[in-house]
Symmetry: C2
Subunit: 343 residues, 2 copies
DNA sequence: CATTCGACTGGGACCGGTCTCAGGTTGTCA
DNA sequence: TGACAACCTGAGACCGGTCCCAGTCGAATG
């Protein structure tokens, strides 16, 4: 009876994942030594290390993340937090670019990405609770609006956070990764002027987003006397808003338009065409982001390329620094003018 | 001195998250009772329950996920696994739809979504290891190709898995959520015929994907004698492949084309225009998916709508069933013809 | 030759939960 | 009144790691 039971036991343990104790037993060392080998292997004799490594290889041992997190207090994961109203974000190809980049950067570090969506108030509540419970080590915040109330919660909880764009008023407490919005807008404005355009309009983004405010600033600065207040419309970065803004804009005499996002540019192009204007012959239209949509659009859209891969890589890198104890810091990256067919 | 030290201690413990022991002490019960209250609260006296609930409310206690996972053996999270070559997937708006739906469904159940990308061989390796280590309870597999080697690994490891589309040969071992491809294709083919078209071509997807194979089957079945083998081209669901396929197709006489994805349809429309054909006047072009791109495309694309919200909800629901011990099962959902302007 | 130092090792406490199980109350039924 | 069930409770053993610390041993130092 006893024999049968122990037989059953060993059957079970053969099925289960090996633990650090089994590795220790098999290698003839203590758990502590195995742990040392796993974590860098300092102060371990070559013999011991080899025995442990062989045992690990033989059994296919993998450390239990949960046990480790419990013991160390580190979660080994970051949250990718989306706070935009869903429609906006999931339409937006840029979010996918950031997500992939972040996932890639984390995988290289043997960490994981947890996706959090805080669209509805109920979702925001449960997300806030999740984050303050310390289930993740840090937060990658994807939100263009500066006024996001979740920001204050994150700061209060004190969880390391990095965001893209610059949330005004929090420069000291949060790390940010952004592009030089003003310079980027100047570059595009200069390009449009260089193409010979004089009556140049802008479809700006919301004023409470960095991209909405500073791209307009750069545009105005560069245009100087050419700048015409009546040729500025607002959109919310979406296709529809670009279409609506362009429809209004067409009531004025305009020969070029700079939209603050590729999607708005696409909407603007559609509006221009419906009005019987040719792009770029009758009216030039440029976008911003180079989100993938710009290249495949018919015709391909001239735009400012944001360095998405660098942005996501930097977000992860800076966030990990902060988690390791560094002070929050901000990184500003360069954009690049990509001339295609629409302007 | 002792006083100072205990003062310091209580300061520290005030900063740290409360544990179940502190709740127990505050409520004047044992840890076991607190645990019972947290998990449903059966076999707990009203008095004890109330005391515990008050203590939880007062302290803002939240259970430590890692500790719980360690004790229960359940991870409390699912993996959202992308196995496509990155380009294809992140261009594809459908993936974002599925991702959001899944995240939402999981948040409601207080579980989390871990994003895993298995693009490169190195990534595949580490993902496989991650999954077999049991760090997540189940896998939502996003891969349209049936031949995916990761599939075999998942089956071997025995981790509960659900996929969208039907991976041939694994119907017994994996759960699948899919749409009725054949019927959907027949519906669209019937629509094109009803519009008066007779020379109808198809830009099919890869033959090793369910959407590639069965949409063609349905198309052929419905067309009957109208079906013309020479009017079938292959693409890989991408915009570029649609453009290339359409360019070839235009060498034949054709008055309508059914593309197996919206992106290919968009590419096909671009190709048709470059060749000087008007859509839909000279040639009707329809897509498949209704991924968001179809509605905002200029002109809006006629397509078959896949029920993305239902698909993601069902994936989560079925996967959780399997994790709870149920047998794998397959769900087939209906699609809907959405007539817009291109066909 | 005694002392000190540094590399290496293992024991045990701990992280914060869950879960089994033995025991204590109370109520009901024979 | 005794037996037995139903309800409620807390002690203690886990889960699988990390990490502090005490201790061993050989070599170098004074």
């Amino acid at each position: 009876m006893l024999w049968v039971e122990s037989q059953a036991m060993s059957d079970v343990s053969a099925k289960r994942k090996p633990t650090i104790r089994q590795i220790a037993a098999q290698a003839g060392v203590s758990r502590s030594t195995v742990s040392r080998v796993i974590n860098g292997g300092h102060w371990v004799s070559p013999d011991a290390r080899q025995a442990v490594e062989e045992a690990i290889l033989a059994t296919g041992y993998t450390a239990n993340h949960h046990a480790r997190s419990l013991a160390t207090g580190r979660a080994g994961s970051l949250a990718f937090l989306l706070t935009e109203p869903q429609q906006l974000l999931f339409d937006d190809p840029t979010f996918a670019l950031l997500l992939r980049g972040a996932a890639e950067a984390l995988a290289q570090r043997a960490m994981t990405l947890v996706l959090l969506v805080a669209g509805t108030p109920a979702e925001r509540e449960s997300v806030a609770q999740f984050l303050s419970a310390g289930h993740v080590d840090g937060v990658i915040l994807i939100s263009s609006h500066e006024s996001d109330p979740l920001l204050d919660q994150l700061i209060e909880v004190g969880i390391p956070t990095v965001c893209c764009g610059v949330p005004l008023g929090h420069e000291r407490e949060l790390s940010t990764i952004s592009v030089d919005e003003v310079a980027s807008a100047r570059t595009m404005a200069a390009h449009l002027v260089a193409q010979g355009h004089r009556r140049i309009g802008m479809i700006a983004g919301p004023d409470d987003t960095p991209g909405g405010r500073y791209r307009l600033v750069g545009f105005r600065d560069e245009l100087g006397e050419l700048f015409d207040e009546t040729l500025v419309e607002r959109g919310d970065y979406s296709y529809e808003s670009g279409l609506a803004a362009m429809t209004r804009m067409l009531e004025h005499d305009v020969d070029a338009v700079f939209a603050a996002s590729d999607r708005m540019a696409a909407g603007a192009i559609a509006a221009a065409r419906r009005a019987g204007r040719r792009v770029p012959e009758d009216i030039a239209i440029a976008g911003f982001d180079d989100s993938g949509l710009a290249a495949t659009h018919e015709p391909p859209i001239t735009t400012m390329r944001q360095p998405w891969d660098q942005i996501s890589a930097q977000m992860v890198a800076v966030l990990l620094e902060v988690i390791a104890g560094a002070s929050p810091r901000s990184v500003i990256l360069d954009t690049e003018l990509v001339v295609r067919e629409t302007a």
